[in-house]
């Protein structure tokens, strides 16, 4: 990871090269892609970007804090289902569902002989509550889980396996409780948000820009966490947990916090997914999607916030184009990608960039600070070139 010396006395959390990186990403997402792609392709990019929220959370949780969660799909799903429940209730107003035996409840409940709206659906009639729930439900779930596990010092491999089991449990539960969750088909046929039809091309473009805006905000948040004292503690914890504990820090609380943060980010991603794609189903919750989200982060670079975004876009773009033309080859390619990333370049695209490209560019693009640093800077910079960990 880049161990940039804490330069000068400035307390601003973005280094100049970070600002340029974010500006370039914003330019790409807000100007270049909308101009270059037709509406259909742009919606694909919008869908990929919802996974980027999860990847962002994983950079903080896995890259910086060393907690590998294989259950991020659960949080993505929780956020997505919260939004889907609101939209579904709006879509199943009494007028729309007049032909059902119980009008006013979602159609799949009617098919499953449920005659009244279950209590936990009731609050999702309010948009304010739903917006809150998108962030709060995943975070609360992560809080309970994190408290139970980290306080008892369950970590590493065991944590990964338990979160994976949770992803399995969640899928089975959603599929099994068809009457309350829509079962394997998920919650479909979503129409309007506050009376605004989300199915039109115009609405989808607006939602794309909302999604990009939220993503950029979350990126700034991630940079803030990374450069704060908390971020440094997370890295210290990952590398020598006992030492941090013996220094008097409550290690488990930091872990709980970063786990909750990553869960909340995934929840936002899930809600944006529901809005843009128009449905939510258990196939985005289980083990396979959860682990695929980890690979986005790994390909982009588990230590690079921007790298994870590019990794997500790249892997998904490859997935779409490969499975369009050679569906047989896609799984082979994905599997090979997993192995190659782990064996050959564990820091992903960002690592390659830092080792091979950045040194040729100026300091503003993450290159060495030597050329720009004036001789007057007497303060010794321990590591001038961004070193890649491990």
């Amino acid at each position: 990871m880049t161990t940039q010396a804490p330069t000068s006395g400035r307390s601003f959390f973005l280094r100049p090269q970070d600002m340029i990186g974010i500006a370039l990403l914003a330019l790409l997402l807000l100007v270049v892609l909308p101009l270059a792609l037709d509406n259909f392709r742009l919606q694909f990019v919008g869908k990929y970007l919802t996974y980027a929220f999860v990847a962002l959370g994983l950079v903080l949780c896995w890259g910086y804090a060393g907690i590998l969660s294989l259950g991020q799909g659960v949080f993505f799903g929780l956020g997505g289902y919260c939004m889907a429940m609101y939209l579904k209730l709006e879509a199943s107003s009494v007028e729309n569902t007049r032909i059902q035996s119980t009008p006013g409840i979602p159609d799949f409940m009617d098919w499953n002989q449920i005659t009244a709206l279950p209590w936990f659906w009731e609050p999702f009639r309010h948009f304010g509550f739903t917006t809150l729930a998108v962030v709060a439900v995943p975070a609360l779930f992560a809080l309970i889980l994190g408290f139970a596990l980290f306080k008892r010092r369950v970590g590493g491999v065991y944590f990964a396996i338990i979160t994976q089991a949770l992803a399995a449990i969640m899928t089975i539960l959603i599929v099994g409780q068809q009457g309350y969750t829509g079962g394997i088909n998920g919650i479909t046929d979503l129409r309007t948000l506050h009376g605004w039809d989300i199915r039109t091309d115009g609405a989808k473009t607006v939602l794309y820009f909302v999604c990009v805006g939220l993503l950029l905000a979350c990126i700034l948040l991630a940079y803030y966490v990374k450069s704060s004292k908390l971020g440094r503690l997370l890295v210290a914890m990952r590398d020598k947990e006992d030492r941090v504990r013996f220094s008097g820090y409550d290690v488990s609380s930091f872990k709980v916090f970063v786990f909750c943060l990553s869960a909340a980010l995934s929840g936002i991603g899930g809600a944006m997914f529901t809005l843009q794609v128009g449905f939510m189903s258990p196939s985005f919750v289980g083990i396979v999607p959860s682990i695929e989200m980890v690979i986005y982060t790994a390909v982009g670079g588990r230590l690079s916030i921007l790298g994870a975004i590019y990794g997500t876009l790249l892997v998904n773009w490859a997935k779409t184009s490969f499975s369009e033309s050679f569906p047989e080859l896609w799984l082979l390619g994905l599997g090979g990608l997993f192995i190659a990333v782990v064996l050959a370049f564990p820091n992903g695209i960002a690592g390659l960039w830092q080792v091979h490209v950045a040194p040729r560019l100026g300091p503003l693009f993450g290159g060495p600070a030597r050329r720009a640093a004036s001789p007057a800077v007497a303060e010794p910079l321990p590591v001038a070139t961004p070193a890649v960990a491990e």
Partner: protein
């Protein structure tokens, strides 16, 4: 949930479900044994374990086809040949995997998880391309069909009994190998202190490779046994991988006895609940139970104290 049944009915329900649970238990134990060796002893998370098992199942299927077409007179004993072939095939693939991939990752256990997941995706696609996407089932030899009546309402299937007997035999063999042979002593020495084991002249790399191979080979045998009670498809292995990991973690990763005890608990809980609730809820409740117990007792049921 019990009030609808009389006492006699309840007891035979528990017996029948207990027997169904024992078959599930056998599959869990066979899969978990290999995993307990690889994960418990070596610390490698092998997500491709299910695919090694399925390789064994395919080998068994093709052996049965071969005997059916060319040696019909010996069809009754094809299974024993198939089991050995399955062990060899999965073991060889396992050793190749260790050599090409795993040995570079011993210091990064979480990365073995990702790499072996990639391997499992590749193997699934290879199975699908080579063997076809449809599930295949073997034909059981005549002596394995049918069932034995125990009482007038309780019956046990012979193939289930056979798989159970096989499980016991393999478990005993593994236990003897790990705890009574000099090779097992070397494996345990490497696990407890790699540097010291190397210093006293154990070839740790070779031990690693053979240990991984053995674990995968046992998975192959598990696949072989699995064909007796279910059909095999390219993705069948993935259905069991999460359960198996939970079994191993729940039992305490380094203890064979713990693995068996936890496999027994989980399979019995699941199959008994299955009768009273829907299958999916039974599984959910069992898994939640295991996760909650793991939260309370993270080190698992049985722990071997090792000074690190």
């Amino acid at each position: 949930m019990f009030s609808d049944y009389s006492l006699a009915e309840l007891s035979s329900i528990f017996l029948m479900q207990g027997f169904a649970g024992l078959i599930l238990f056998s599959v869990f134990v066979l899969m978990a044994l290999g995993l307990a060796i690889i994960f418990g002893q070596m610390g490698v998370i092998n997500m491709a374990h299910g695919e090694f098992m399925i390789l064994g199942a395919y080998v068994t299927y093709f052996t049965s086809q071969f005997f059916l077409n060319h040696l019909p007179s010996l069809f009754g004993i094809y299974f024993f040949v198939a089991m050995i072939l399955a062990f060899l095939a999965s073991g060889a693939l396992g050793m190749a995997t260790e050599w090409l991939m795993i040995r570079h990752l011993y210091k990064r256990p979480l990365d073995t998880l990702l790499a072996t997941w990639g391997l499992s995706l590749i193997l699934q696609q290879v199975y699908r391309s080579v063997f076809g996407p449809r599930e295949v089932g073997v034909e059981l030899p005549g002596w394995m069909m049918g069932s034995l009546p125990v009482t007038d309402v309780v019956e046990v299937q012979i193939n289930g009994l056979f798989v159970m007997g096989l499980t016991i035999a393999i478990t005993v063999a593994v236990a003897l190998l790990m705890y009574r042979s000099s090779w097992g002593k070397q494996v345990r020495a490497v696990v407890q202190n790699r540097v010291m084991a190397g210093a006293v002249g154990i070839n740790t790399e070779k031990v690693d490779r053979y240990t991984f191979g053995l674990g995968c080979g046992i998975a192959g045998v598990a696949g072989s046994a699995f064909t007796m009670i279910g059909s095999t498809g390219p993705t069948s292995g993935q259905l069991y991988i999460v359960d198996t990991f939970l079994v191993v973690v729940f039992g305490g990763a380094q203890s064979l006895l713990g693995t068996i005890a936890s496999a027994f608990t989980i399979s019995q809980a699941q199959s008994t609940l299955e009768f009273f609730l829907s299958g999916s809820m039974a599984k959910v409740l069992t898994l939640i139970g295991v996760v909650v117990i793991l939260m309370l007792r993270p080190q698992g049921l049985f722990v071997i104290k090792v000074r690190r």
